[in-house]
């Protein structure tokens, strides 16, 4: 075994231990408000990474992510709420019988939310993925909105525009970050596999990919469905974080927030999505002060709601103008790069995942 390979293994192990330690202390010492922000960051990491699979790696300009989140959030909420609170919340029209008495534990419900969202992704992808570029964007945007409108109107299932409350709350960092890390690992494995290269080939040159024997439509559908699965997962987690869902949460503007993350992080870089996901979510909270009245050396600026978005818009403008590739471009975090910087000798090696 190569010594460098061993060093990399040790480093990975160390990193896992370190993140466990960080999670442990964060869980123990941070205020519940801060934990909440970190949990939200984990959700945005999942969203960013999964949307990057579709947009960045497969090159499909799809804007339906919020719609799949919506599906996931509702599935998990309906499955986990207690029959008693369902009776209380559905006061306009009662929930249909088979759903009234289901009471699943949280974990399988979240996974189920992903599965149902993936199913919707498959259904929507089947007709929509015959389109390309901006046509696909318009179609998926439309489908995302259709999902939201269906949710608003199927009152006996979703309670319509009143939304759902009293969803079992999850507070633990371990669960959110556990899901986030699992997502990143699965997506990393997929992207580095033969299928991942097929996705990238489709992004680079669809005609050539087809001529090399790749079933373009099947691969696009696979990528889209996997993306929808993780969007559903993230939606479910979102529901458990804020313990209530309603259809207006998942307007298409939400999709643009995820788009902001992946463009900042770099289209085609999981590492970029992770970093940008955390940075954007955390700074979104800490920039709240700009919306408060500010006393600047005697000059009093009244609080303007929405100032945070102005800052992010400016940031995005800067990135597009001066740093088009985003933070990471298509590069990924890897130990080789760090070891090279540290001057650890490298032996000629080349491998495939």
């Amino acid at each position: 075994m190569d010594s460098r390979q061993n060093i990399k293994r040790l480093l990975t192990l160390g990193l896992i231990l370190l993140s466990c330690l960080v999670l442990f202390f964060a869980q123990g010492f941070l205020s519940s408000f801060n934990i909440r922000i970190l949990n939200l960051a984990a959700i945005f990491v999942i969203l960013g990474a999964s949307m990057n699979l579709v947009l960045g790696f497969t090159g499909m300009f799809s804007l339906g992510h919020a719609g799949f989140m919506c599906v996931g959030a509702y599935v998990s909420a309906i499955l986990t709420m207690s029959p008693a609170s369902k009776e209380l919340i559905y006061y306009m029209e009662p929930i249909i019988p088979p759903l009234a008495n289901v009471h699943w534990p949280v974990f399988p419900a979240i996974v189920m939310a992903g599965v149902v969202a993936a199913f919707f992704g498959f259904l929507i992808g089947f007709p929509a993925l015959r389109l390309r570029d901006d046509y696909l964007a318009i179609a998926t945007l439309g489908f995302g909105e259709i999902i939201r409108i269906i949710v608003t109107n199927t009152i006996t299932i979703t309670n319509g525009s009143l939304g759902l409350k009293d969803i079992p709350s999850i507070k633990s960092l371990w669960i959110y970050w556990g899901f986030a890390i699992a997502t990143i690992w699965i997506l990393k494995q997929l992207i580095n596999s033969s299928w991942g290269y097929a996705f990238k080939a489709i992004r680079d040159n669809e005609i050539a990919a087809e001529a090399m024997g790749i079933d373009v439509f099947k691969h696009k559908l696979l990528s889209f469905t996997v993306g929808a699965f993780f969007a559903g997962l993230a939606g479910a987690l979102m529901g458990h974080l804020i313990t209530s869902v309603d259809p207006t949460m998942f307007r298409f503007l939400f999709t643009f927030q995820i788009l902001l993350i992946i463009v900042l992080g770099g289209l085609g870089s999981l590492t970029g999505s992770v970093i940008a996901g955390v940075v954007v979510t955390v700074s979104m909270e800490f920039l709240r002060f700009v919306e408060q009245p500010i006393n600047l050396f005697g000059l009093i600026i009244p609080g303007i709601p929405g100032m945070r978005m102005v800052i992010f818009s400016l940031l995005l403008l800067m990135v597009i103008l001066f740093y088009r590739q985003g933070l990471m471009g298509t590069r990924e975090f890897n130990w080789d790069w760090i070891l090279d910087k540290l001057g650890v000798a490298r032996r000629k090696e080349r491998g495939v995942a």
């Binding site: 997929l190 033969s194 680079d204 040159n205 087809e210 001529a211």
Partner: protein
């Protein structure tokens, strides 16, 4: 006819009012090198696109190895064993030389994505074997030392060679080369000819090529088909074609127009 590998049975391609190719009839025997020539706009690339499934012929039938392949999708045709290169190079720009070639093995992979995610043996063994095959292939086309370079950073001639290597990696029986010598100087064209002859021997390939360089076509092809305005005006050996009055007119006519 009985032992032809690739047969096009009077295929016609009609784009609205334009008949790009009419009644093209090719019979290509195994391990033959066939040249498809003709002035610009004669319908050569359209013929390629029909054979490889990009277009479905308006009329006629294409059969490969006794099977009817008319109307199949490009990826299905590649899977059956017909690979191609492109006139304007279409390499995967974000990938390295090795990854470009490795991608062609995807179609030969017998595993599902779940096995890949979990790194199960069936997938990882196949992947390792493909990797070794690709390195060997790159070695044969003298690109092995550039395996980790970005494909689009290679010089033009090598990009052409990589395109051929990428097509070879799909393990084809027939390879369709669309102007492989385009933009090459005489020396490079000569090397390319040797290269094509070599891979034919090595992989037992049948080659159908479109080419404008007459030295290349006359030097390497055993059978030549001449198209003009979509119509087949001549078929035969290089000597027959060189002395064919219609062919001379088609080409000299083109020269007249330029002058």
């Amino acid at each position: 006819m009985g032992n032809s590998l690739l047969v096009t049975d009077n295929i016609t391609m009609q784009f609205g009012g334009l008949r790009a190719v009419s009644d093209l009839a090719l019979q290509i025997a195994p391990r033959q090198i066939v040249g498809l020539i003709g002035p610009n706009g004669a319908g050569k690339t359209t013929a390629f696109n029909m054979i490889t499934g990009v277009y479905k012929p308006t009329l006629g039938k294409i059969s490969f190895d006794g099977k009817d392949i008319t109307g199949l999708k490009p990826n299905q045709i590649t899977e059956l064993g017909i690979a191609r290169t492109f006139q304007n190079i279409r390499l995967f720009s974000s990938m390295s030389v090795l990854e470009n070639v490795l991608l062609s093995k995807h179609v030969r992979l017998k595993a599902n994505p779940l096995e890949a995610i979990l790194g199960l043996p069936r997938y990882s063994k196949a992947r390792k074997r493909h990797y070794e095959e690709c390195m060997e292939l790159l070695d044969q086309v003298q690109l092995a030392d550039l395996a980790d370079e970005k494909a689009t950073s290679l010089p033009y001639g090598k990009q052409r060679r990589l395109e051929i290597a990428r097509a070879l990696a799909t393990q084809p029986q027939v390879i369709l080369l669309d102007e492989p010598a385009a933009g090459m100087n005489p020396q490079e064209s000569l090397e390319l000819m040797e290269f094509i002859a070599k891979i034919r021997e090595q992989f037992g390939l049948t080659v159908l090529m479109i080419e404008h360089h007459m030295e290349v076509v006359m030097g390497i092809c055993e059978h030549i088909v001449v198209l003009d305005h979509g119509v087949t005006i001549a078929q035969g050996t290089p000597t027959e074609i060189q002395n064919n009055q219609q062919v001379i007119e088609a080409y000299l006519g083109a020269v007249d127009e330029i002058a």
